[in-house]
């Protein structure tokens, strides 16, 4: 290789390595802050190496699974309350408003709001998270035992949580 080109190649490689290294350091330093949400365990037991816990009154996002059977709706208003968990502790979320289509028990959600008690979040926004699996309803039912519920059908969201387990099994209803 001509020395002139070799010199340029070395410069370019040094530049890329330098930028990659500094980007790596910045992202490592910001690591916890880039996370979109606290998990319920992090909220209760503390996050990061020094186990910092969020304070009551702090605005934050919480992400986890909606606990089966924990959704309580007020029949008169749009108020709803449910518990969210990951692997251990549960955190209660209170919310007033319309929930996203994908919201259901067992679903991953991200709630943004203010922590009003150590394990109670007053949410101003609830977002649904979905995983990376894509399956036709019949296969999902056969493989995972998940009964498909069309998010748009009325049965997906009975007004009271007692009625929903038995009537929500209509897997073909929406299509």
């Amino acid at each position: 290789m001509i020395p002139r080109r070799k010199k340029r190649l070395v410069w370019v490689l040094v530049l890329i390595t330098g930028v990659a290294l500094s980007a790596g350091l910045i992202l490592t330093a910001l690591n916890e802050n880039i996370d979109l949400f606290y998990t319920p365990s992090e909220l209760v037991e503390g996050k990061g190496k020094d186990l910092r816990k969020p304070e009551v009154g702090q605005r934050l996002r919480l992400g986890g699974m909606v606990v089966e059977g924990s959704v309580r709706r007020d029949p008169e208003t749009l108020e709803v309350s449910f518990r969210v968990t990951d692997i251990g502790p549960e955190v209660t979320v209170n919310y007033t408003g319309i929930l996203p289509d994908l919201f259901r028990e067992g679903q991953g959600i991200v709630a943004q709001g203010v922590l009003i008690e150590p394990t109670v979040l007053q949410a101003t926004e609830v977002l649904a998270k979905h995983d990376e699996e894509y399956l036709p309803p019949e296969i999902a039912e056969a493989m995972k035992g998940i009964k498909h519920v069309d998010p748009n059908s009325a049965e997906a969201f009975p007004r009271s949580s007692e009625a929903e387990q038995d009537s929500a099994n209509d897997s073909e209803g929406g299509y």
Partner: protein, 249 residues
Amino acid sequence: MWRWLHPYAKGEATYRLLGHWLPWLAISAALSLLVGIVWGLAFAPPDYQQGDSYRIIYIHVPAAIFSMGAYTGMAITALIALVWQIRTAEWAIAAIAPVGAVLTAVSLFTGAVWGKPMWGTWWEWDARLTSQLILLFLYLGVLALYYAFDDKRTGAKAAGILALVGVVNVPIIHYSVYWWNTLHQGATITKFEKPSMATSMLIPLLICLLGFALFTAAMICWRLRHEILRQELHRPWVQQELIGQEKLN
């Protein structure tokens, strides 16, 4: 290998080579896009969670993958342009950047349209969405630098440096969903394990991916040919080429 590549440092040889490729790329891109998108939108089964809304994946995922693929390609041509100072490589930066920028914009737009009904929001500043937005700004920055200088070669050099430096963002986009917790899902197909998608949904997606790859390649060929003509307008071969086309018309 180098001896084989050398003629393509000249604009004319590259122009003719791309001219041979372009019709094949364009036809196969049109065919596979037609098959893939019609299959995906009309015939693939609905998803157990998202119903029919998931079908936007057949546009969203290919656009996102090749926005990063095009960027990697642009960074490689920038490396060649900076180290070997080959002019066709400099022009390739300008040919790839707009195509990549449009793919990035399409992935962001389809993502927002998908996010609103499924997640409940058009936009969330999570790591995946933010790093993809940065990719769009990188593309726009490369384009702006390329055309910002009166001296074309200075512009190409500046754009090339930004293109190379920005390549650091590509692995960050890919791994953002693993390094941090995000609203965006993890990878369905771009991972070493088996894809987390039923075969009946996966096949049209793979055809769409092929279609987007061919379409991206065809657009880049087409734009690079134009860039070569524009840059070498004063050369005799370009004038002959243009006169020849005029006669044909």
